[in-house]
C-alpha cells in the first residue's frame, strides 16, 4: 500500500482546517466550563445559529423587511452574528442557567441539551436538514492558492488563518491580561474574587456571552465551506466534546492545541485507513482517559 506524501499533506491541511473549527468551539466550551461549571451542550446549536444568522441576513432578511436590496454580506455577518447570538446567550444565562449554579453539573448539561434541541427543532421546521449552501462567499476569496504540495482553496486558508488568530487572541486575553487574570481567579475561587469587589455575576454573564459568540463566529466562518443545516452543530459538537476531554476541561492552550492536532489526525487517517476516520478521535479519547483521566493539559 503506497500512500503518497502529497496525499497525506493534503489531508493534513484539510484536517487542520477542520481542527481550527474544533479549536474555536472547544475554546468556548473550556472557558464556559471553567467559570460557570456548566457543560454547555447548546454550543453546537449556537454555532449552527451563527451560520443561520449569516444565511438569513444574506438571503431572507431583506425580503422579509420589504427591502429586497438589503443584504448583510459575509463581512458584516462575521461581526453581527456573534453579537446577535452572544446576546441570546446572555439572555439564556440570565433567565435559565443562573438558577442552576451550585447544583450538580448534570442539571446544566440537561438544560443546555434541551436548549439545543429546541433551537434545532425550530430550524428543522423551516430549513432542509440536508443543508442549504451559503451563497455569499466573498469574491476575493474565490479560487485556490498554490502551497507547493497542493492547491488549497483560498477561502479555507482564510478561514484557517482567521480561526488561528481568534484562538490565539483569546488565549492572550485570558492568560496575559488583567481581565484574564480576574477570569482565571474567578474560575478558581469565585466567592473570594467577589469579596475583593469584582462583580462576578456580571463576569459570568459576559463570559457565557463571549463563549457563545465565539461559537457563532465559527458558524459564520463555516457557512461557505459546509452547507448550513439545522444539524450542523449537533454533528460537530460530539467531536468537540471529545477534544475537550482529551485536552483537559478548562485548559485554554489545551483546547487549541488538541483541536488542531485532532483535526489533522482525523484528516490523515482518511488517507491512511479511511474506515477509522470518524472513530479515531474517540479511540484517542479512550486512550487518554485511561492514561491521563484529567486530559493531556488538565491539572490534577
Amino acid at each position: 500500500m503506497a500512500i503518497s506524501a502529497n496525499a497525506i499533506l493534503t489531508q493534513a491541511m484539510l484536517g487542520l482546517n477542520n481542527g481550527a473549527f474544533y479549536a474555536m468551539l472547544s475554546l468556548g466550551l473550556a472557558v464556559i466550563f471553567g467559570l460557570l461549571n456548566i457543560v454547555n451542550f447548546a454550543h453546537g446549536a449556537f454555532y449552527m445559529l451563527g451560520a443561520f444568522v449569516a444565511l438569513i441576513g444574506l438571503t431572507q432578511l431583506g425580503p422579509w423587511l420589504g427591502m429586497p436590496d438589503l443584504q448583510i454580506n459575509f463581512w458584516w455577518a462575521l461581526l453581527i452574528a456573534p453579537l446577535v447570538v452572544g446576546l441570546l446567550g446572555i439572555l439564556i444565562e440570565r433567565t435559565l442557567l443562573r438558577r442552576l449554579y451550585g447544583l450538580d453539573h448534570l442539571y446544566g448539561l440537561l438544560l443546555t441539551f434541551g436548549v439545543a434541541l429546541v433551537l434545532q427543532g425550530f430550524f428543522t421546521n423551516f430549513y432542509n436538514t440536508a443543508g442549504t449552501p451559503y451563497p455569499g462567499k466573498p469574491e476575493i476569496l474565490d479560487g485556490v492558492v498554490n502551497l507547493g504540495f497542493m492547491y488549497f482553496p483560498k477561502y479555507r486558508l482564510f478561514a484557517l488563518v482567521v480561526s488561528l488568530l481568534v484562538c490565539f487572541a483569546t488565549w492572550y486575553l485570558i492568560e496575559r491580561t488583567k481581565l484574564g487574570a480576574i477570569l482565571r481567579a474567578g474560575t478558581e475561587k469565585p466567592k473570594l474574587v467577589e469579596a475583593f469587589g469584582v462583580n462576578v455575576p456580571l463576569l459570568i454573564t459576559l463570559t457565557y456571552g463571549f463563549g457563545v459568540a465565539l461559537a457563532a463566529f465559527a458558524g459564520v466562518l463555516a457557512a461557505p465551506i459546509y452547507a448550513v443545516s439545522p444539524l450542523m452543530g449537533a454533528d460537530l459538537i460530539i467531536v468537540v466534546f471529545a477534544v475537550v476531554v482529551i485536552g483537559g476541561m478548562g485548559s485554554i492552550m489545551g483546547a487549541i492545541v488538541t483541536g488542531l492536532a485532532l483535526g489533522m489526525i482525523e484528516g490523515v487517517t482518511k488517507v491512511v485507513y479511511p474506515p477509522a476516520a470518524s472513530t479515531v478521535v474517540f479511540l484517542i479519547m479512550a486512550l487518554v482517559l485511561l492514561v491521563r483521566p484529567a486530559g493531556l493539559f488538565g491539572k490534577e
Binding site: A181, A185, E194, A195, F196, G197, V198, N199
Partner: protein, 238 residues
C-alpha cells in the same frame, strides 16, 4: 441603639448568619473605631470566622445590622461591600494557583486612590518582589500569608479583616507578621484580627472581643487584660 460614634468604621449589631440550614451566629454585636486593632478571640466553632464572612456576605443568609464607614451593608451583594472600604484576607489565604505572585497582588480592584503603591508593598515585603514571577501557590506558607495581606493594601481599603494569619507558621514568621500589623496600624489602617494565638494578639490589639456560641461573650480593653486573665483562660481554655 446607641448613636453611632463619629470615628466608628464598623458597627455590627444583632448579626445572625446561616450556612444552609444551620444557624451559626446568634446576634453578634461589636464596633470597631478608626485606627484600632481589634481581635476576635474564642474557641474553634465559636463563630469568629463566620463573623468576618457574614460581614462580607459570604454566608448563605444573614440578618441584623452592619454598617461600614456609615453605609448599611446587610442588603448589599458581596461585590459591593468591598467598595465600602473593606479588605479581606481569608483563613485559607486564598492564593490563586493560576496567577503569578504579581497577578495575585494586582487582582483586587482599587476601591480608593489612597492605597499603598506596588513599590511600597514590595518594600514592606521584599520576598514578594523577588518572587513576583512565580506561581502564587509555589510560595512558602509564610510568603503566601504575606501575599494574602499585601494584596489588600493596594486597594485603598481602610478596614482589614484578617482571619487566622498566624496559623501553622513558624515563630520567626509570626514575629514578622506582628511587625507588619504594627506598621499597618501606624499607617492608619483599622484591623480586625481573628486569632487563635493569644500571645500574638495580646500585645498588638487595643481591644479584644471574646466569642462563644455565635455571640460576643465579653469585650476586654488592653488595659484590663491582666485583671481578666482568668476569664480569657476560661473562654479559650489555653
Amino acid at each position: 441603639m446607641l448613636e453611632p460614634h463619629a470615628d466608628e468604621i464598623l458597627r455590627v449589631s444583632d448579626l445572625h448568619a446561616y450556612y444552609g440550614e444551620s444557624h451559626v451566629l446568634h446576634g453578634v454585636d461589636l464596633t470597631v473605631n478608626r485606627g484600632e486593632v481589634v481581635t476576635l478571640l474564642g474557641r474553634n466553632g465559636s463563630g469568629r470566622t463566620t463573623t468576618l464572612r457574614a460581614i462580607l456576605g459570604l454566608v448563605t443568609s444573614r440578618s441584623g445590622h452592619i454598617s461600614i464607614n456609615g453605609h448599611q451593608a446587610i442588603d448589599l451583594p458581596t461585590h459591593k461591600i468591598a467598595h465600602l472600604g473593606v479588605g479581606y484576607c481569608p483563613e485559607e489565604r486564598g492564593i490563586f494557583s493560576s496567577l503569578t505572585v504579581e497577578e495575585n497582588l494586582l487582582l483586587p480592584p482599587k476601591i480608593r486612590s489612597d492605597g499603598m503603591s506596588l513599590d511600597e508593598i514590595y518594600e514592606m515585603f521584599p520576598n514578594l518582589k523577588e518572587r513576583r514571577k512565580s506561581q502564587g501557590t509555589k510560595l512558602s506558607g509564610g510568603e503566601q500569608q504575606m501575599l494574602a495581606i499585601a494584596r489588600i493594601l493596594r486597594t485603598g481599603a481602610s478596614l482589614l479583616l484578617l482571619d487566622e494569619i498566624t496559623e501553622g507558621l513558624a515563630p520567626v514568621i509570626v514575629r514578622t507578621l506582628g511587625d507588619v500589623i504594627r506598621k499597618l496600624k501606624e499607617r492608619g489602617y483599622t484591623i480586625v484580627l481573628v486569632e487563635q494565638n493569644f500571645h500574638f494578639a495580646a500585645p498588638l490589639a487595643d481591644r479584644h472581643y471574646v466569642m462563644e456560641h455565635g455571640r460576643v461573650a465579653a469585650m476586654i480593653d488592653k488595659e484590663d487584660l491582666e485583671d481578666n486573665k482568668e476569664l480569657i483562660n476560661r473562654f479559650l481554655s489555653v
